[in-house]
Symmetry: C2
């Protein structure tokens, strides 16, 4: 009987706390949807500051403004965390054309981030089309040497989440130019990594392996890639050549900052839940969805907690990481400092997949048992907000290094709807106008809700 | 032992059929994502035909082209279903301004569908602002008589699905002008029903109650509504007046058509599963999301079934309903004909909430037991596609009348993500460019999957 009473008491208390949680979460959503400030903050970041590639004047302005913004919210602590970052610059607008006998057909290209430039007169060479790194390997040096390699592997439309398609096709951009250089290629052009058929080159970083000759590499629009591929099929070598001129270069590293704000935990000030996105962006547009939305949601989480009067037990921290796009130096630095300061990190949530309608969260390396527990406890709380897809999956680039220095941490990725992200990703179309206010604010509310649940119950479910 | 064997056999067969279903659904998605034609068809409908309000030349063109499209797919039967529809025309562009002493401040308005026009010289009157029909009632004839009533109830941002917010605020537009006329108002302006703060008037139908004096009614943009409201607060009556001029009118009814295509059922040709959207649109734009996406998804469902070689047991029918926007005559006619022809309708699925990322389906009047069963059987099949939210909720305007003539039917609404819909709904922004190809095609695949499951297993779960 005593046991039964205890069980009843536990059940009643669990039901009561579910009801309390449900009310608290509803308050977060009301605050976000009625008084949300992420959208207006994003407008400022996009329209008054604009592009903010690491090392640029825009990045410097963004750091200063972000700190001011956090200060204005009256968080318990706001500070900058110094970090040295690469300073790559695009230089003059790229030029490229397909040469078909006497005809020159201009095509839209954009240098890949961290690529070297061409000589001032550009490069001209025959083109070898490949669909994968494997195909490149099969052809080998005898075919590749002296040529421009055209990586034309298409985005696989069959993936339901576009992030998976980006990962699969993306290897061509990350690793393709370096692999082509190994076989003596003099340049590389890479089909834009997007499900869309459009006229924009989608830029993004590439990386050269150590000891490899650094060759110039550029993204080409999907429409132009299709055209080039069709021409190569029709005309064969050596009639079709390609001309590329770009003047990008990497300057000496520059001092920059992560921007950090926090609300101190009332019970465990040294236990931390981090929410973050990246403040830097590519240089072609305003970095609205990538990742202005992420940083503005991160600071909004703290604002919502404060505005609704919630006093967290643990310290809640918003981090604007610097240099996600071409170096990840901000994320690495943050993890180093967390270790140096012996901070206990419970969880880090990254929002860097666009400011679209929330679908849920992915828990990196989650066991089936953990997923079962997290769904059993929290799914019904998030279901009314349609942000209840709690699955295994990656956390994110910026929080990744924390796993190495703070192994007890749980890394979590915010998962918005993925369909539109790679249409605009790394193009001139990544502008404020393509962000929907409600979608952005629903995301901030969803993240706030998860932060709250972790703060209340931890993650040892 | 025999029982146990039977149970095992049933279990094995259930598991096997789940696996088969899973493969079949994957084939539908591959076909939609790789070879989908809804997007290109929609481009034609929007760009080559454009607006297609009932009775307009655009509607007539759309009917002819839709039939040709269905014919080109080689369905078993393609036909037109005659229906008389209202013929309302907007006339010359509306004019409106706020009169503040000697100042005239122009504001964007659009006549509500089915509204009467003003006299050629327009109407000018003092303005009474109300936030609800209840407030109007409280004021009564002594205050309202001779005035223009300004319905300024705002869209409640707290709803998670915007459709709920639309319904709540929408009553002002549907019923407001008629209610104001009852108290002697000479005109009505209605705040656009949208969560967005923008400069577009969002049109839509209004209705006059029998015997009530028909007064001119127009939608006003949310930005202008805020301005007018602020001016009324500052200046009070009678300084602020409002001028409205519109020349819309309702002409005699016109003959039009529902466009219908079907694949005959191999086992039960007289048992029907209907999938439909509406072909007519408002006159201000291209009716892309409302409801070009719906009709193009509906025909795509049949195309996908054919392309993947699926032979349905029951007849699958795509219906392009005419006149959803201002009369519902197509839906009413379809239900009448279904009764007259003694057709057995198993289910009707309506897609008229935009061509956005699928979230799931709503089953009208579903009991908790039905919802439990449908989730137990089908949720895991739809989960990989994130279209697994199977809930109670409305079917749709066009299929609604079927419930009266075919009471055994199950009405189902396709539920895409709702966040962006009412930003562009009934405005000049409802154009092809605001539709995402993958989102549209994912929707077609989701509906095809549900049609398949209903065809295989029925809805007596």
């Amino acid at each position: 009987m005593k046991k039964l009473l205890l069980l009843s008491a536990l059940l009643i208390s669990a039901t009561f706390s579910q009801a309390q949680d449900s009310l608290t979460i509803r308050r977060f959503y009301d605050e976000a949807l009625v008084n949300g400030q992420a959208y207006d903050n994003l407008r400022y970041l996009c329209k008054q500051i604009g592009q903010r590639l690491s090392g640029s004047a825009g990045a410097e302005k963004a750091v200063a403004w972000s700190k001011k913004l956090m200060d204005s919210y009256g968080f318990d602590k706001v500070y900058l965390q110094e970090v040295m970052v690469p300073h790559w610059v695009r230089g003059a607008k790229e030029e490229a054309y397909i040469i078909d006998g006497n005809k020159k057909i201009p095509v839209p290209v954009a240098a890949l981030g961290m690529s070297v430039g061409t000589p001032a007169s550009g490069i001209t060479a025959n083109v070898i089309e490949v669909k994968s790194l494997k195909e490149l390997e099969t052809l080998g040096e005898s075919v590749i040497k002296g040529k421009i390699v055209f990586f034309n592997g298409a985005f696989d439309q069959r993936f339901i989440e576009t992030g998976a398609g980006y990962g699969a096709a993306g290897v061509q951009r990350f690793a393709g130019p370096s692999a082509a250089a190994k076989y003596g290629a003099i340049g590389a052009i890479v089909r834009s990594i997007t499900p869309a058929l459009d006229d924009y080159p989608h830029t993004g970083a590439t990386a050269y392996a150590d000891g490899v000759n650094k060759i110039p590499a550029a993204a080409i629009s999907t429409v132009a890639a299709n055209k080039l591929s069709a021409m190569l099929k029709l005309r064969k070598l050596p009639l079709i050549k390609f001309y590329l001129k770009q003047s990008c270069q990497t300057l000496p590293d520059v001092k920059s900052y992560n921007v950090i704000g926090e609300i101190k935990g009332s019970e465990n000030p040294n236990r931390i839940i981090t929410v973050g996105g990246h403040l830097d962006s590519w240089d072609l547009a305003e970095g609205a969805h990538d990742d202005g939305t992420g940083v503005m949601q991160s600071v909004e989480v703290l604002r919502i907690l404060k505005a609704t009067g919630y006093k967290p037990k643990n310290t809640i921290r918003a981090v604007f990481f610097m240099n996600e796009e071409n170096g990840h130096k901000g994320g690495i630095k943050y993890a180093e400092e967390a270790a140096a300061n012996k901070e206990e990190h419970i969880a880090a949530i990254e929002t860097d997949e666009g400011g679209f309608t929330p679908r849920g969260f992915s828990f990196e390396g989650a066991s089936p048992a953990f997923l079962k527990a997290v769904n059993a406890k929290w799914k019904t709380l998030l279901e009314p907000y349609e942000a209840d897809r709690l699955v295994e999956g990656g956390g994110g680039t910026d929080i990744g290094p924390l796993k190495e220095t703070r192994p007890a941490i749980r890394l979590i990725g915010f998962r918005p709807d993925s369909q539109r992200y790679f249409d605009i990703h790394h193009t001139p179309n990544d502008v404020f106008e393509n962000v929907n206010k409600r979608e952005l604010h629903l995301g901030a509310a969803a993240i706030t809700s998860l932060v709250y649940l972790i703060d209340q119950y931890g993650l040892n479910l």
